[in-house]
């Protein structure tokens, strides 16, 4: 018997296809460097939107603007969940509370915690017990703990990480850490999940697993996914729409088929080469952020 989810993973109230996030003319500069220039983009409920582009194109910067880590000098990012929220004015933790979760290009897990605790930490915004009952660990604190312990077990099932529940994440392989990081973001019950190169550095098998998890998350739970990825094979397979960034500007947007045939994209990435696929970008290798 297929095990049903005890708790909904997705906290969004919109219908599939409705506009969930609207990025308008966003411009971001670092001193003289323009990381993003007049980028506009829409994210729709329950889609998988891939953002591609060469290194330094501004993909990570765009996610950082959405999650409030960078503040664009110009432009607006509006999030809809029944009402409109202007994200560029909010702090990262406030944006998280609206249901926008993410993972990082260079894994940013809580290294000394177990997998279980990382997942529970992911559910932070849902835990409401007050400090005193937590210190006493009585009634409400215990019940809440139990409830979320059960909830993260669903995520453990989904991501097939049963065997490493109690391991400290620092001791896990790179591929598993990436998986746990996605799990931690899922524990937030996000309405939008931002994934920054979730498959970078993985072998083919690990990538395949990851792609399957990502599809599960949108198809079974309706979570919207914004995905940065370099592996064009995977991108073409799983995304509904693709946006292409180059030198901070969006040069194309469309379905995988449209992108495959877009002359600008071909020019930007392929240069002289004539065969369109398969081609590969070269993922960043440095680990510092």
């Amino acid at each position: 018997m297929q095990r049903g989810f005890l708790n909904q993973l997705n906290s969004s109230t919109l219908k599939p296809g409705e506009t969930q996030l609207k990025i308008d003319d966003v411009q971001l500069n670092f001193g003289g460097v323009t990381a993003l220039l007049d980028v506009s983009l829409e994210v729709r409920q329950s889609e998988i939107l891939a953002i591609i582009g060469p290194n330094g194109a501004g993909k990570t910067s765009l996610l950082n603007c959405i999650s409030g880590l960078y503040r664009p000098q110009h432009g607006r990012i509006t999030y809809y969940n029944g009402e409109a929220h202007e994200l560029t004015r909010l702090k990262p933790h406030q944006i998280a509370r609206l249901g926008i979760a993410r993972s990082f290009q260079n894994i940013e897990l809580f290294r000394h915690m177990t997998v279980l605790d990382n997942l529970l930490a992911g559910a932070h915004i849902h835990m409401k017990t007050n400090l005193l009952s937590c210190l006493l660990y009585w009634g409400p604190a215990q019940r809440e703990h139990l409830q979320y312990r059960r909830f993260v077990e669903d995520i453990i099932d989904l991501l097939e990480i049963e065997a490493i529940r109690y391991n400290t994440v620092g001791s896990l392989s790179y591929g598993l850490q990436k998986r746990v990081e996605m799990g931690r973001a899922l524990a937030m019950r996000p309405s939008i999940l931002l994934l920054d190169e979730p498959m970078a550095g993985m072998n083919a098998e690990e990538k395949e697993d990851m792609a399957r998890f990502i599809l599960d998350i949108t198809e079974e739970h309706g979570v919207t996914i914004v995905l940065i990825e370099h592996d064009m094979g995977v991108i073409m397979d799983i995304s509904d729409r693709i946006a292409v960034l180059n030198f901070g500007q969006k040069i194309a947007e469309g379905t995988p088929d449209e992108i495959r045939q877009n002359p600008l994209v071909i020019e930007a990435y392929l240069g002289e080469e004539t065969s369109v696929f398969p081609f590969k970008f070269h993922p960043k290798t440095e680990t510092s952020d």
Partner: protein, 347 residues
């Protein structure tokens, strides 16, 4: 799917996951603490009481520095706030000892929170310098605000009495202090299996990720300062009532460094480590003094350099520790446990 089974497994899963060995050790520790005062002489009781106070202070500092990653050099100053608050409330306003102790905890929490504000902007060594400023400001105020604190003169605190019993005899204070240690330990253990404590550790491990998980960094850093200072103030207040006397010299920067040594040697981010470090650092000078006495009787010539040798040994032991076991006493303790786990007849 039977949710009843889930319920019981998770409950078991989340009970502190104590192994039988852990349970045995815990029972042994409690039994030891219960029997000890009946066997110990006054000297050992005094030491045990000092250890109890140090454990409370070390757990407090570890919550801030070891668990939340906010280095503090203000420990001595915050203890001074606790000691003077308790002393003044009892000596000047006639509050009962327990009332002034509780009040002192809250006052210290408030002042600790205030001095924690720079932590929003400052990290690592920069924050350490900011808390050093807190330390110096507090001691300056204590020594200069004569009307309130008595300035550099000692503040005399009346004997704490409850139900006609004088609480600060070594024997009686032992029960008070170690009961409080028990309560503090339980609260600290609970803290770190609930969202608050997890948010603290998250901030230490990866503050940016914590913030995008919805942790309000400002709020939780200040909360860490508040909870930590609450306990540090408690340690200060207990010192005031135990010693009957509060002097600023007991709360200088030396104390801040000593407490940092406790948690580093004991183990950052570990409650057991706080116990071990506090015990070690409190008992080491006593051991060195006794060794010194023994040495002096054999070599009378070293009398004049003895204090120097003791100081140097103290420093040396700490340095050796950091070199050979950077993860602290707690790691050694873990190694010992692992060793016995391999024994054929372990529990």
């Amino acid at each position: 799917m039977d949710s009843g089974i889930f319920h019981t497994t998770y409950e078991k899963d989340m009970a502190l996951r104590r192994t039988p060995a852990q349970k045995v050790r815990l029972v042994l520790l409690i039994a030891f603490l219960l029997v000890f005062p009946f066997l110990a002489n006054r000297y050992y009781l005094t030491l045990a009481n000092q250890v109890a106070i140090a454990v409370i202070g070390a757990v407090g500092l570890n919550i801030l520095t070891g668990y939340t990653g906010q280095i503090s050099l203000g420990q001595g100053g915050f203890m001074a706030v606790g000691a003077y608050s308790a002393g003044i409330l009892t000596a000047r306003l006639g509050m009962p000892w327990w009332g002034s102790t509780i009040a002192a905890c809250f006052i210290t929490a408030l002042i600790g929170t205030f001095f924690g504000i720079p932590s929003l902007r400052l990290k690592g060594l920069y924050l350490a310098i900011a808390t050093l400023a807190a330390q110096e400001i507090i001691i300056w105020v204590v020594t200069h605000w004569r009307a309130l604190t008595g300035g550099v003169d000692a503040l005399v605190v009346p004997d704490p009495v409850s139900f006609g019993i004088r609480i600060n005899s070594d024997f009686n204070f032992y029960w008070v202090a170690w009961s409080i240690v028990g309560i503090v330990t339980i609260a600290a253990v609970n803290l770190f299996r609930t969202p608050y404590g997890r948010a603290f550790i998250a901030i230490r491990d990866q503050d940016i990720a914590a913030s995008v998980m919805g942790v309000d960094l400002f709020k939780y850093k200040l909360l860490a300062f508040a909870i930590s200072s609450f306990l540090v103030g408690l340690a200060g207040a207990l010192t005031a009532h135990y010693r009957n006397i509060v002097t600023w010299e007991r709360f200088t920067i030396d104390i801040s460094v000593l407490y940092l040594a406790m948690i580093i040697i004991g183990g950052l981010g570990s409650i057991t480590g706080s116990y071990l470090g506090a015990t070690f650092i409190t008992l080491l000078p006593a051991v060195l003094t006794n060794l010194g006495r023994a040495l002096k009787s054999t070599f009378p010539a070293i009398d004049s350099v003895l204090p120097f040798i003791q100081q140097a040994t103290f420093g040396l032991v700490i340095i050796l520790f950091l070199i050979f076991e950077p993860e602290g006493l707690n790691k050694i303790w873990k190694n010992i446990k692992d060793y016995f786990r391999l024994w054929p007849f372990s529990y």
